[in-house]
């Protein structure tokens, strides 16, 4: 396939992916908007005023970047895992497999679809948060690169999950039993300074800590960890996941008998 043809195929897939989640917005865009508004009301307004400062900011401001990240993570992962799995399940994946589209175009198309959903939900949550607090943007490039890379990483994670999934249970196991606990314990709601040494060390093994903190640094200018190390590590993970997903797709794992 020529580059132009690959580009057309890529746009076709990305458009299809975006149209999918926009068409079913009550399942994709509305739920995170409602959940996050509830967090803002309860933790920000009702409970937050009693907690006082966290990391030098009022509690609402402190948790907003983490909550934005949480919705980006859940939605980019959820988008790709359910879209790719249902494509497999309905066998419409074969439409791509018979075509000359190279594997990297298919993979990048799904990844960009997941990033788009993550960013769109992230944007919605950000706008909602402005009704409850005011935000600054200390380091725009860091904010942008960390959010895009995180969305990419979890889109790829969702893709790999879908490759191995055999039924609908398999696509909810990781989000429920891995992603949710890691996110809640990933420094969204508290600064690591509050933790005893042991638990702080344990928490530092959680990759989501680095994403949340780097993002918070971009917005508020504070972080529990080194931001540049975090960015570099996320980038390495994106690359690793991409290569793994591409290898699986080329082999036809879970797709070609």
């Amino acid at each position: 396939m020529s580059f132009t043809e690959q580009w057309v195929a890529f746009l076709t897939l990305v458009t299809k992916e975006i149209r999918r989640f926009v068409r079913i917005w009550p399942q994709t865009l509305l739920p995170p908007a409602i959940t996050m508004s509830l967090y803002f009301v309860i933790f920000g307004n009702l409970v937050g005023s009693r907690i006082g400062d966290m990391g030098g900011f009022d509690y609402m401001q402190y948790i907003v970047p983490g909550l934005i990240m949480m919705s980006v993570i859940q939605n980019s992962y959820g988008n790709v895992v359910s879209s790719f799995f249902s494509t497999k399940f309905q066998h419409s994946i074969e439409e791509m497999m018979v075509s000359p589209m190279p594997a990297h175009v298919i993979l990048t198309g799904y990844m960009v679809g997941g990033i788009a959903r993550g960013l769109m939900v992230g944007g919605i949550v950000t706008v909602l948060s402005l009704f409850f607090t005011h935000l600054t943007l200390q380091h725009a490039w860091i904010t942008l690169s960390v959010v895009v890379m995180t969305a990419a990483l979890f889109s790829l994670g969702g893709f790999i999950n879908a490759v191995f999934a055999r039924n609908f249970d398999d696509i909810s196991i990781i989000p429920n039993f891995v992603l949710t606990p890691l996110t809640y314990l990933g420094g969204v709601f508290y600064s690591l300074e509050l933790l005893p040494d042991f638990w702080r060390a344990v928490t530092l093994a959680n990759p989501i800590v680095y994403m949340v903190n780097a993002f918070r640094y971009g917005i508020l200018g504070v972080s529990d960890v080194n931001v540049y190390t975090s960015l570099g590590t996320i980038a390495l993970f994106v690359l690793g996941f991409y290569i793994l997903a591409l290898w699986l797709l080329r082999r036809g794992t879970g797709i070609r008998a």
């Binding site: 396939m1 195929a9 076709t12 249902s86 309905q90 018979v98 589209m101 036809g252 070609r256 008998a257």
Partner: protein, 313 residues
């Protein structure tokens, strides 16, 4: 250059089923080719490998001279596939399914829309273009898959049991459509287990059974292979047992019906002479229907015998 060339193709599925045991198959450009075989013979596996939906275990496939291993993209552009099972998103609209498929082939959107309209009209689906695919009848879904397979103007169209579950009238119109495509110069391969379909559409045929090609020839010489013709005779008076007629193989179908195998070298006059000698009066006589069917059964039985002997030895 051949449209399709398959060399020593093997496939063993992960559960150990050996679906293809080294098949060779050549389909020339412009042919209308039938791959005929009973259920489980390996037809879909063959089509699956050729269309990149199944990983082969061994062997080579070339499409218009392009190796599926080394020039996969070029090879893929030349093929359109209509699989046996519906494989589109049931919730997507008919029009979107076809336009999107064109996009996956790298066809820009304006041309993709023109192509989709062309084939949806030809297949009588243009009125249904805004319907979700799941709202279509079985025959329409099959036609949707044909439109989708043609959207990038492939030179080789492969259909896996296209008329299974399609009623007789629609089947005829689908046949006419396929004949038209073939006359425009497209090579067509279809798999079927309906012999009538192969006989009326295809000039060349391969018979596959248990993952082995048991016959690969043109339709005429296949029919000529039938050295004997079978006639059904309705008798005036019932018989107790099949009579002995020198030189003919005779079976009693029921008391008043005989089946006689007449070698091509024998004259019918001698048959009637022999019957008259035994005072057997024939009321009417007809050619036993579907000779191809018989041949098919015989070939498959022979193959099963050979397989049995192999297993026993």
């Amino acid at each position: 250059m051949s449209a399709l060339s398959i060399r020593n193709l093997t496939k063993t599925y992960s559960n150990g089923v050996q679906a293809l045991k080294g098949i060779d198959l050549t389909v020339e450009k412009g042919e209308f080719f039938a791959l005929l075989g009973p259920n489980g013979a390996g037809k879909s596996t063959t089509i699956g490998i050729v269309s990149s939906l199944v990983n082969k275990s061994g062997g080579d496939v070339e499409i218009f001279g392009h190796s599926l291993d080394r020039e996969r993209a070029l090879a893929k552009k030349k093929i359109g596939v209509v699989p046996q099972e519906f494989n589109f998103n049931q919730f997507e609209k008919v029009y979107d399914i076809v336009v999107t498929q064109a996009g996956f082939y790298g066809i820009p959107i304006a041309e993709a829309r023109r192509q989709a309209e062309k084939y949806l009209r030809q297949l009588g689906l243009w009125e249904k273009r805004q319907s979700a695919a799941r709202m279509l009848s079985g025959g329409m879904k099959r036609r949707l898959m044909i439109a989708r397979a043609l959207v990038h103007e492939p030179e080789l169209l492969i259909l896996d049991e296209p008329t299974a579950g399609v009623d007789i009238e629609l089947r005829r119109s689908m046949w006419d459509f396929l004949i038209g495509l073939n006359e425009q110069g497209r090579t067509i391969i279809l798999t079927t287990h309906y012999l009538e379909e192969a006989e009326s559409l295809c000039r060349r045929i391969a018979i596959i059974d248990h993952g082995v090609i048991v016959e690969n020839t043109d339709m005429r010489s296949l029919l000529e292979k039938l050295q004997v013709e079978t006639f059904v005779l309705d008798l005036q008076r019932p018989l107790q047992s099949a009579p002995e007629l020198c030189g003919f193989h005779v079976r009693l179908r029921d008391a008043a019906t005989l089946e006689v195998d007449v070698p091509k070298t024998e004259s019918l006059n001698r048959l009637f002479g022999a019957l008259a000698e035994q005072d057997i009066q024939v009321l009417s006589m007809r050619n036993k229907a579907n000779r191809l069917e018989e041949l098919f059964v015989r070939l498959v039985e022979r193959n099963a015998d050979l397989a049995g002997k192999e297993a026993a030895s």
